[in-house]
């Protein structure tokens, strides 16, 4: 279990992290999501040991984490790029930590574990290839194999899919999530993409300007945002007179809050419309029986007799 207590960090008098407290229970994945510059990557680098927090304490299980050097922490960070070593083959890349890193094994053990791990990530056939011969998705899988061979107590992932194209990203993140769950890995996953955060995390944590806004299951965060900031970031519903309404409980009507249609979204056989309120710019997506055109003005109001669940 990972516990962060009051971790804070400033650069040149600018506070990047206001005291952050969080826990990740063993075997679970916590997604940290927020716009760029919210402090999520800084937090991750503090846990990895590349940055020294100005205050606070970190524990992994019972042992203090923040007093150890990065190389000595039982933690592995995966970067945005796969960063495979270009001069080593796939299996040599995967085995790097078993030869030079924290978990040194004898040559036969190394070979056995590496090959087993490479078969599990489906790249055994490519073991003697060099990284440049691999696709971006394959490279990230090797990178994951290299990290997991160290059997880290905690895996940190810093937007590892951001350099992949949309289709591959979708495919790989499902695969990685299932793989991490299968292996029972405890992980912190950082992304700016709320959809990705919801897919990857058992729980998710929303950050903005160095503050934690909300922590909960993806369903909680989507259906019961902790405030207008979270709602605005999630973009699924709006506050009307202090009450939160997800898009599914709103309808276009002749009376209600004035709104403007931005564009249509076609998904799963339905047509949705992204709208924003004229008063304060809050955005959401609603479904409408009649077809709407971008720029069209309308009014929205809560449907009657619809509850949250």
């Amino acid at each position: 279990m990972l516990t962060l207590e009051h971790i804070e960090k400033s650069f040149h008098q600018e506070t990047v992290l206001h005291p952050v407290t969080l826990t990740v229970t063993a075997g679970n994945i916590l997604s940290i999501v927020g716009p760029s510059g919210c402090g999520k990557t800084t937090l991750l680098r503090c846990v990895a040991g590349f940055l020294k927090p100005d205050g606070g304490e970190m524990y992994l299980g019972d042992s203090r984490l923040d007093t150890k050097k990065a190389a000595e922490r039982p933690v592995v960070l995966m970067f945005q790029d796969a960063l495979l070593f270009p001069h080593l083959t796939v299996s040599e890349n995967a085995a790097y930590g078993l030869r030079h890193g924290r978990r040194r094994l004898s040559r036969p053990e190394r070979k056995q574990e590496t090959e087993a791990m490479l078969s599990r990530v489906g790249l055994w056939e490519k073991r003697n290839h060099y990284p440049r011969e691999l696709s971006g998705g394959q490279q990230q899988r090797v990178s994951l194999a290299r990290a997991l061979l160290l059997q880290p107590d905690l895996l940190l992932l810093d937007e590892p899919f951001s350099s992949l194209d949309a289709h591959l990203r979708q495919e790989l993140r499902l695969w990685v999530r299932d793989f991490l769950k299968e292996e029972g890995v405890t992980a912190l996953f950082v992304t700016h993409d709320r959809e990705e955060a919801a897919i990857m995390g058992d729980r998710m944590l929303v950050m903005q300007r160095g503050h934690v806004l909300q922590e909960g299951t993806p369903e909680d965060v989507h259906k019961r945002p902790a405030g207008p900031d979270v709602a605005a970031f999630i973009g699924e519903g709006i506050y009307l007179d202090g009450t939160y309404y997800p898009g599914s409980s709103l309808e276009a009507a002749s009376e209600g809050a004035a709104a403007v249609v931005e564009h249509a979204v076609y998904a799963y056989g339905w047509t949705f419309y992204r709208i924003h309120l004229e008063a304060d710019g809050q955005q959401t997506v609603i479904r409408s029986e009649e077809s709407l055109t971008p720029g069209q003005k309308l009014a929205v109001r809560p449907k009657e007799g619809v509850s949250d669940d």
Binding site: F50, A70, A71, H87, E92, R103
Partner: protein, 258 residues
């Protein structure tokens, strides 16, 4: 058309050296013969029987090797700082490092002659090694800096997060990725050191006999084939250096492969 031009270029750049080799193994090939008429190893035998040759080869290799090592020792940290760190006064530092190619090194060598005598390193390989650093360091800095520009610091951090200590990270990540730049810098340095006549003559005072100091008197001798053989020797030494460098570095690389 392009192909033809390319072949012409190769003919101009590479063919002359092959011609040199041919010349060294012919017997009395001179005007007006377009092609050689007889072959002989006489020129090479004559060169080999020159008593000063072997010691001069040894001295040249020794000086060249030490100059390469000193270039890397001084150049790697400096190039790293220039590439990875932004600090005030960078342009001034760069200019100082490039000074030896912005002024004639001959002037500096002449100025240093008396100082070297006072320090007791004139007429001694040590003085020659020091003076050879001047025309080589600017190129080493330039090449290595380019190498560090391409070495993403994230790779080193990755090694750290995988639990490798700082020396292992340098040996297993930085050095292999930088290998092409290190090799270019080393070969360039070796060739420049090998090509110095006047600096060696002034600071070595004629007592430090490197190959170029033997070459100049040979140049005006009548025996063209012997000069050709001597010239081929100069082309072979960098290749020998490259071979040794590659052998040693690939052996070291194998040792550290996961």
């Amino acid at each position: 058309m392009r192909k033809l031009l390319l072949l012409l270029l190769l003919a101009i750049f590479v063919f002359p050296v092959l011609f040199l080799f041919l010349k060294s193994i012919t017997f009395s090939w001179r005007y007006p013969d377009v092609l050689p008429t007889a072959f002989s190893m006489r020129a090479w035998e004559a060169l080999a029987s020159e008593p000063q040759l072997l010691p001069a080869v040894g001295m040249t290799l020794f000086i060249g090797a030490v100059v390469v090592v000193l270039n890397l020792l001084l150049g790697i940290p400096a190039a790293l700082a220039l590439s990875w760190v932004d600090f005030r006064g960078k342009v001034a530092v760069e200019t100082i490092f490039f000074l030896p190619i912005l002024v004639p090194v001959l002037a500096i060598a002449m100025g240093l002659h008396i100082t070297m005598i006072r320090l007791g390193i004139a007429d001694h390989p040590a003085g020659v090694i020091l003076i050879h650093l001047l025309p080589t360091l600017p190129y080493t800095i330039r090449v290595l800096r380019g190498g560090f520009d391409r070495l993403d610091p994230a790779w080193m951090q990755l090694g750290e997060t995988l639990g490798a200590g700082v020396f292992r990270r340098i040996a297993t990540i930085a050095v292999p990725i930088m290998a092409p730049s290190l090799r270019s810098a080393a070969v360039l340095t070796f060739v420049i050191s090998l090509s110095q006549y006047v600096l060696t003559a002034i600071i070595g005072g004629g007592r430090v006999t490197t190959l170029p100091l033997l070459y100049y008197p040979f140049f005006n001798s009548a025996d063209q084939a012997v000069i050709a053989a001597f010239s081929v020797l100069f082309a072979v030494l960098p290749l020998l250096f490259l071979f040794v460098w590659e052998t040693v570095s690939s052996a070291a690389g194998r040792l550290l492969r996961p």
